[in-house]
Every structure is written in structure tokens, then in C-alpha cells.
């Protein structure tokens, strides 16, 4: 027998969540891959049709575990589009702050997971430890560490607690000082140089057509970021760059782009940009109300219509297509998660010809998040 079958997941250290890839291998080369989602299906879209507009806010963060805030933000933006609400400036800044904090914490987790897949386990332990400082801030701000239920249609739930921005500044300084250690351990590591370049390549000319978005698209050399392209919250007022292949600053450009190396470096550089954005937010935070005066929560009447809102999550384009029939509950909500394309079609296609040992680093570098595939 020449080919044999190999299952990676749903319980496997080399998988990015409760998710499975069914591989057919010849020797140690993959000849075919099939994605099998379903282990995390909780029927969110159906549940949302049975809950009021406001009850859903408590439900949706659970769609993406490592970065739950993007769900709250897109849902809120879609409802605001239907309601025709303009939110206060301060709410926009607080949203930006929350989203950028979430981006850093999600990138830290991805870096840790990726490093583990090439045998550098220390990065994961450090990253989880450093992420905890951000979770502490989230706890102080929202009362919860992982699922914050903080961004509401109309603004945010609470104003900043006293001294919060000072604490945030401290954590940013700490995280910035930690980056050089991550560089030494992972991004300037011989293992990374030898294993990551030109592995798991997405053809550059196909990237957009295949629905690749976010850092994975920027690793292919496209300078596209929804924060600049379709700006939301306070991003138009803030100054930041979009790291993309081959603009890697002080880092060496190895490989030809669209590979594990570029994808991870884009994420590493985005952490720097997020810190830069957060510093500006601290400086510019306007005074004023943090939310609109909301109508009676039990009797929200959302005008009938269609609305689509999107944000740049740490994984790519995250969008909600929300349809209202004028009732107390959404008529239909469709979640467009970035991993839906990255985890299924893209991975199934680029896995052909990969070595088994490179498969895990490829899916970690694509940052496939299983819960937003099946919701």
C-alpha cells in the first residue's frame, strides 16, 4: 500500500482548536487534505433569531474565543447601520482601544502556537503569561477576562475606570520591552529561518480570488487593511502603518512571500503598530459620553433592512450580514469569519505536497480559528 491516512485533530497538539484535518499521505508527503469541522457547532446563527437584539450581545463573543471583541464590534456596527445611529467620539476611541488590545492578545497566542509547532515551546509559555497582563486590564475594564460583552450597539457599556489609561501605558511599555525577547527566541532563530521561508505558499495571484484576507493577504504583498480601506471606530484619526511583504523593517526578508515566514513576521510587526495605535488613543481620548441614550432594552424596534459591517480582526476580514424584518429579534444574521476560507479551501489546496511536519506550522501561520467556521 502506497498511501495511508492520517488524522490531525480534533485532539492534537498540532491543531488550532477543536477541528480535524483528514490527510492522505505518501511517505511523509501530503497528497490530499480534507477539513472536517463540526466539533464546535453550537448553532449561534439560529439562536440569535430567537433572542432580542440586546440579548444577542451576550451570546456573540463566544463565536471566536481568542479574539471575541470583534464580534461585538461588528454586530454593534451592523445594528447601528440599521438604526441610523451615530455613536459618540469617546465610544469610538474606547472601541478602538479594546479592539487593539484584543489584537495584541490574539497575536501573542498565535505566535506561541506557531512557535510550538516548530518545536520552540518556550514562546508559548511566555506569550500566555504576557497576554495575562492584557486580560487583567480587560477584567478591570469590563469585569470579565475572556468574553467581555462590552461593546454595545450605541457605544460601550461602561466608561473607563479611574487610572485605566495609566495602567494601559504601563502594560504597553512592558510588552514593548518584551518584544526583543520574542525576536531572539523566535524571529531571529535559526529554526525559524530554516523551516518557515517558502513553506505553505499561497499563489500570489490567487490570494484575493481565494478569499484570503488580513495578515495572510498582506504576507502576499498586498497593502490591504480594513482599518484603512473601510475605516471604522477611531481609525481614521490615528496614524499607523500596514506591515506587509516585503516591508519588514529591520527583519530579514527570506523566502518569496505568501509563506509561513512572511505571515508570522506580519503578525509580529502588527503588534508594534497596535502598541503605537494604543499610545495615540491614550493621548487623544476625548471627553464626553461613552454611549448614546438607549431606548427601552425590551422594546428595541430595529427598522427592516439589510446591513453589512466589517472589521479587521487579527485573522482577517470579520463581517456580519444582519437582516431585520422590523421585529424585536434579528430575522437572520450571517457571520463571515476569516477562517472559513483560510481553514477549508485554502488549506485543502495548499496542503498538497507539504511535508507532514510542516502542516501544523502552515495552519498556525494561517491562524485558523475553528469556532468561526461552524459557529
Amino acid at each position: 500500500m502506497k498511501e495511508f491516512e492520517l488524522f490531525i485533530g480534533p485532539q492534537h497538539p498540532g491543531i488550532t482548536g477543536n477541528f480535524m484535518y483528514h490527510l492522505w499521505v505518501d511517505g511523509d508527503t501530503i497528497v490530499k487534505a480534507e477539513a472536517h469541522p463540526g466539533y464546535l457547532h453550537r448553532g449561534f446563527e439560529k439562536l440569535m433569531e430567537r433572542r432580542t437584539w440586546q440579548m444577542n450581545v451576550a451570546l456573540i463573543p463566544r463565536i471566536c474565543v481568542p479574539e471575541p471583541d470583534v464580534n461585538e464590534a461588528v454586530y454593534a456596527m451592523a445594528v447601528e447601520s440599521l438604526m441610523d445611529w451615530d455613536i459618540p467620539e469617546r465610544a469610538k476611541y474606547i472601541r478602538t482601544m479594546v479592539l487593539e488590545m484584543a489584537r495584541i492578545s490574539s497575536h501573542l497566542l498565535t505566535m506561541g502556537g506557531y512557535a510550538g509547532s516548530i518545536g520552540l515551546y518556550t514562546v508559548g509559555q511566555w506569550a500566555v503569561g504576557d497576554r495575562d497582563y492584557l486580560l487583567d486590564l480587560f477584567e478591570q475594564l469590563t469585569g470579565a477576562r475572556v468574553y467581555h460583552i462590552f461593546i454595545f450597539p450605541g457605544g460601550v457599556r461602561w466608561d473607563l475606570p479611574d487610572g485605566f489609561l495609566r495602567k494601559l501605558e504601563k502594560v504597553l511599555n512592558y510588552l514593548e520591552s518584551r518584544l526583543e525577547f520574542y525576536d531572539k527566541l523566535l524571529f531571529a532563530n535559526e529554526v525559524f529561518f530554516r523551516r518557515a521561508p517558502d513553506v505553505g505558499v499561497i499563489p500570489e495571484d490567487k490570494a484575493i480570488e481565494w478569499g484570503v484576507t488580513g495578515p495572510n493577504l498582506r504576507a502576499c504583498g498586498y497593502n490591504y487593511d480594513i482599518r484603512k480601506l473601510d475605516p471604522y471606530a477611531a481609525y481614521p484619526d490615528l496614524d499607523f502603518e500596514i506591515p506587509h511583504y516585503p516591508k519588514f523593517g529591520d527583519f530579514e526578508v527570506l523566502g518569496h512571500g505568501c509563506d509561513c515566514y512572511s505571515r508570522m513576521l506580519v503578525r509580529r510587526l502588527e503588534i508594534e503598530q497596535s502598541i503605537k495605535i494604543l499610545r495615540q488613543v491614550i493621548k487623544k481620548m476625548p471627553e464626553g459620553p461613552h454611549t448614546l441614550k438607549l431606548p427601552n432594552p425590551l422594546a428595541w424596534k430595529v427598522p427592516a433592512g439589510y446591513a453589512y459591517a466589517r472589521v479587521e480582526s487579527s485573522k482577517g476580514e470579520y463581517g456580519y450580514f444582519v437582516i431585520s424584518d422590523g421585529g424585536k429579534m434579528p430575522y437572520r444574521v450571517h457571520v463571515r469569519g476569516p477562517s472559513y476560507t483560510h481553514g477549508i479551501n485554502v488549506t485543502e489546496t495548499i496542503a498538497k505536497g507539504l511535508n507532514i511536519a510542516d502542516f501544523s506550522q502552515t495552519i498556525f501561520s494561517l491562524d485558523v480559528c475553528a469556532p468561526d467556521i461552524e459557529r
Binding site: P37, G38, H41, G43, E45, K46, E49, R50, A76, M77, A78, E80, S81, L82, M83, D84, W85, D86, I87, I208, E209, W210, G211, T213, Y222, Y224, L229, D230, P231, Y232, A233, G305, Y306, A307, Y308, A309, R310, E317, G319, F321, I323, Y331, R332, H334, R336, Y340, T341, I344, N345, T349, E374
Partner: protein, 165 residues
Amino acid sequence: MKAEQIFKELGLEFEKLKVKGNTLPRYKAEVKPEKLEEAIIKFKSNGFNHFVALSCIDWIKDEKFELVYHLFSYKEKEDVFLSIFLPRKEPKYKTLRHLFPQIETYEREIHEMFGVEFEGNDRLGEFILEDWDDMPPMRKDFDTVAYAKKKYESVPLIDEGGEKE
């Protein structure tokens, strides 16, 4: 080419969706099912080469399913939603996965969750659900409570004398 111009050339009427939060314009148009492929090819060749998503909506009162094909152009910075309506009884359409490969995945999900048949897609079948034995669950007439009662009869609901946690 701008979306308005393409709509004009295709002879389609469109509406602009309300946008708050984001800034780019979004256009939605209804297309006849037999004209959809032509319309998508036209948009794709004019810069709308990012296929964002395919959504399905069950309009049970009108006895129709709506399929919304969502395209985006990085060049023109515009969103386009093309929707077709299918009869709710025996909904059938052809696959468009040759235009954008990720449409295949969306079709698999819609086939499983709404029961829409896509001719030419050979990967329809079990995708997210496993051993499903009822009507497609995202349909509006699927009753989750009744299903839970039937499927899990050993666990009585609180209203029927079950224990509170």
C-alpha cells in the same frame, strides 16, 4: 469600473444599503437566477474579485429562499450584494464554484442548513452536522425546542417537572 456603471450596463435596479460605522458604499440588487452567473462574471472581470460571502435567508411567509452573493472590489472600494430568489419547495440552483473556489464551502453549508440543492457540486453532504435526521435546521419552521424534546426525552425540561440546576 464603478458598480453603478456595471449595474447600468446589466440593466439592473439597485438600492444603497445604510452604512454606519464603516464608510464604503454598499449596493444591493436582485438578479434573475438564470442571469446571475453572467452578472458575477461581469463584476469579477471589472475588479470585483474578492468574494466575501454567500448567505441564505429563509423568507418563509413569501415561500422563498434568498441567496445573497457578496462581492467586494479592492480597487473601486465598493461592496455589491447580488441576490436571487428560489422557490421554497425543492430549492435548486447550480454551483458557481468555478468562479470562486470558496463558494463550494458556502454551498455545502447552505445545502446542509437550508436544504438548497446545488447542481454540479459533488461535495454536498455531511459537513458540519453529523448523523442529522430532521429537516435542515436553519429553516424558519424548524423548532429547536420540539427537536430537543424528541431527541433527548430522558432529560425533562424545567416547565415539565425537570430539576433546576
